[in-house]
Symmetry: C2
Subunit: 105 residues, 2 copies
Amino acid sequence: MPRTLPEPTAESFDLTVILNALADPGRRALMTALYRATEPIDCAVLVEKADLGLSNPTVSHHYRVLREAGLTRTVAEGRKRIVRVRRDDMEARFPGLLPAVLGGP
Amino acid sequence: MPRTLPEPTAESFDLTVILNALADPGRRALMTALYRATEPIDCAVLVEKADLGLSNPTVSHHYRVLREAGLTRTVAEGRKRIVRVRRDDMEARFPGLLPAVLGGP
DNA sequence: AGTACGATTCGATGGACGTCAAAGAATGAG
DNA sequence: CTCATTCTTTGACGTCCATCGAATCGTACT
């Protein structure tokens, strides 16, 4: 039974929070890898792709920051966490921001 | 005799530093006001436009952070500081970033 | 039930950041 | 030359943040 973890509405996005989230190299590495993936992806798989040298609690913390900034949507499916970029909401509120920061269209 | 204050080359721009600079509301207010101005502008005039409730040392600190991130170019002319956005360098390194963050084209 | 596994939370620690008051240059006026 | 004005630097203070180890929680598998 999939549960969507708490996240802000697109209307309540705060640019300061978003830029702070993207300002951290680890989080941006996660976002870049996630941004390239066209499909929702398992958090554990993504963190391997990003290849950060960070402990599990720290990675979990970064996922939370990204989600609470509105950059990602996380769905809990059993033990796994499936994460994706909220492209449409981000494009609606801050057009062109993600492409500019993460590269590519 | 105008002196250009120290600044990084466009090649050495660091996205982490740039996003950190833009993540602060006060600095972003300065940048937004500066971005709208098509001409180089006196720092003191700009800070009035932005209307931050900050002390002089703090404003000076923010100007320095923006400059050292590569976002602005500051030229000292006598007692004045003339500042402008490094549009071309920013567009060359991170196309679309400033428009996306500061709004408008 | 019990165990194993993945993710989160808690507590602590070290460092970075924003802020200001006071001291320190630099420049223009008298 | 001296003084006054304006910006910058320094030092200090409080706060926030990234990070990790250990403990906790929830789920799946036997």
